[in-house]
Amino acid sequence: MALVEIRKLTKQFRKGDEVITPLQEVHLEIERGDFVSLMGASGSGKSTLLNAISGIDRPSSGEIVVNGTDITKMSRGQLADWRAANIGYIFQMHNLIPVLTAYENIELPLLLLPMSSAERRKRVEIALDAVNLRDRANHYPRQLSGGQEQRVGIARSIVANPTIIVGDEPTGDLDSTTTDQILDLIQRLNSELGMTLLLVTHDPRVAALAARQIRLENGKLIEKGREVVVVGGEFQGRRAL
């Protein structure tokens, strides 16, 4: 059984009189340890898919089963608890809490889990080491560069050891040198720590790092060299193009 199973996922919303359907009966499976990149034109629905998988947006219909649990049936509160335990989210704009230090920002997700303060401290220190920012632990976001902020964001996303890490354009706000550093870090999360990653990106360099590269085109998910095949509403596997 795949770690993430998406079945017949549809998302519709209204914009004035127009009904927009960015996702139409989408099917996708992500295995544990996969590194998946999701590309597509603006408005193709890639962020919508990412948000649905991470439980911050609700689909109009369909199922998202993560680790055997259908998250589309959860209440708002249950989804919040589920996110705390299962999702590490890397934002494009870092979105660190400005009044908290790097250490406190990284510690934030752990405050929601049953854990002693000693265990929290240990985990935050490991995460800080992983992103090579131990010496910036007590700095506030305004005292950090964009790349350092994003590294803190990545540390925050991994610190609770989530089931899956999702990133929405994680290098979209960075210069090319910093992007290289962040990409190297992201790749290590997958190759060295075996973390499952799903990244939305416009950047072919980011997509190229992923073992699986998926494009959203006209409501269809097309994996590099293969199309995700749906017959009669049932997922049938991937077909060579």
Partner: protein, 380 residues
């Protein structure tokens, strides 16, 4: 919840000017709230005190100011013989101002021995021996001493009355801290007039079984056809009637207290709404990280309560300190209401602050908790 305390405090400190202005506004409002509460407590103490219900005041009929009540002193002997009467104290009252005033000085002339048995006074400085031996001696309530900066050994003159201060006292009844006690015969002879044989009022202490209303009627009936007709009421009613105009104003002032509460509510709610609107995206991020909407709501409520309580404690502290050190009182016709700090006042102020904090945080807290994560992340 306490794990997030640093976040709450730091969020408030982020906009420190706004927070401090709100805290100051709350402090001023709670300061006024304390003052209004203190005046109301002072009036309640005067009129509802148990001892005030078991003591009668005999005054000249149809007179309002102490200066216009002249009862024959020998009425005291007649009243003392009545069934149910435990004791009678003849009192001569002189005040510098019969109208409502914030700095009224009231002299009560009483026989020295009866003064000590009828009043629960503790001398803070000076001694009773000097008071007993000197006819122009006076002991001064601590509130008057504080207000007028009077000390033992000094002479004090007001109007045509000059006394030597031989003691400063604290009374079990806060209003009496605003009185100056002298010998009865001294005050009868003061002001260049010889009013020996007359007193302003009689204070009648009742026995356990005595019915105050029946005795009051009996006393007035006794002197109805005498040289001076009397009007007798319980001490509580007498004080309430004497201060009727002030009591009306004080009653109206409780609206001022409510206005203060409303002011704090509006102030804290406005600040909290602004703080929430500034942080729509931040709340969406927190929800993305896994904070439940209920927890976001409680964090906003905590911010609101902290601001309200900080202002409340400042205002209550300043108000109580000023009440303790200022020795404030308002008086009319020789009766005073003391403004005193009290634990009850502090507790009610803190309670009001906390409740206002909760109420002020409800709407912004609800707004923050209902933040739509995706649109807030995208557009906020």
């Amino acid at each position: 919840m306490f794990k997030f305390a640093p976040y709450v405090v730091k969020s408030l400190w982020r906009h420190r000017s706004r927070t401090l202005l709100t805290v100051n506004g709350s402090a001023v409002a709670l300061f006024v709230f304390c003052f209004v509460g203190s005046v109301q407590q002072g009036l309640a103490r005067l009129t509802e005190d148990q001892q005030a219900q078991r003591t009668l005041i005999v005054f000249q009929e149809n007179r309002f100011c102490p200066a216009s009540s002249k009862l024959p002193e020998d009425y005291a002997g007649t009243v003392a013989k009545m069934n149910g009467v435990k004791g009678v104290v003849p009192i001569k009252v002189f005040t510098n101002n019969c109208r409502a005033s914030l700095d009224v000085v009231v002299f009560n002339g009483m026989p020295p021995k009866k003064l000590r048995s009828a009043r629960q006074l503790t001398l803070l400085s000076g001694d009773w021996g000097q008071f007993d031996s000197r006819t122009d001696a006076a002991i001064v309530g601590q509130a008057v001493a504080q207000r007028r900066r009077l000390k033992v050994g000094e002479r004090f003159t007001i109007g045509e009355v000059t006394v030597n201060i031989v003691g400063v006292f604290r009374s079990a009844v806060p209003a009496e801290d605003n009185y100056i006690y002298t010998h009865l015969d001294f005050l009868q002879r003061a002001r260049g007039k010889n009013s020996v044989g007359t007193v302003t009022q009689l204070e009648v202490m009742l026995g356990e079984a005595a019915d105050p209303d029946r005795l009051a009627t009996e006393i007035d009936a006794q002197f109805k056809n005498g040289p001076v007709a009397t009007s007798t009421r319980s001490k509580g009613v007498f004080q309430r009637d004497t201060l009727a105009d002030l009591a009306e104003l004080i009653g109206f002032a409780h609206w001022l207290g409510y206005a203060c509460v409303g002011l704090v509510l509006a102030l804290v709610a406005t600040t909290t709404v602004m703080a929430v609107q500034d942080r729509i995206k931040e709340h969406a991020v927190l929800q993305t990280l896994g904070l439940r909407p209920g927890r976001i709501f409680r964090l906003v409520i905590a911010e609101s309560i902290l601001q309200s309580l900080a202002g409340g404690f400042l205002g209550i502290g300043a108000g109580l300190a000023l009440l303790a050190w200022g020795g404030f009182a308002v008086g009319a016709e020789g009766v005073t209401i003391a403004f005193k700090p009290s634990l009850e006042l502090a507790a009610s102020g803190a309670f009001v602050s906390a409740i206002v904090g909760v109420l002020a945080g409800i709407i912004p807290g609800w707004q923050a908790a209902r933040t739509e994560i995706v649109s807030a992340l995208r557009y906020a």
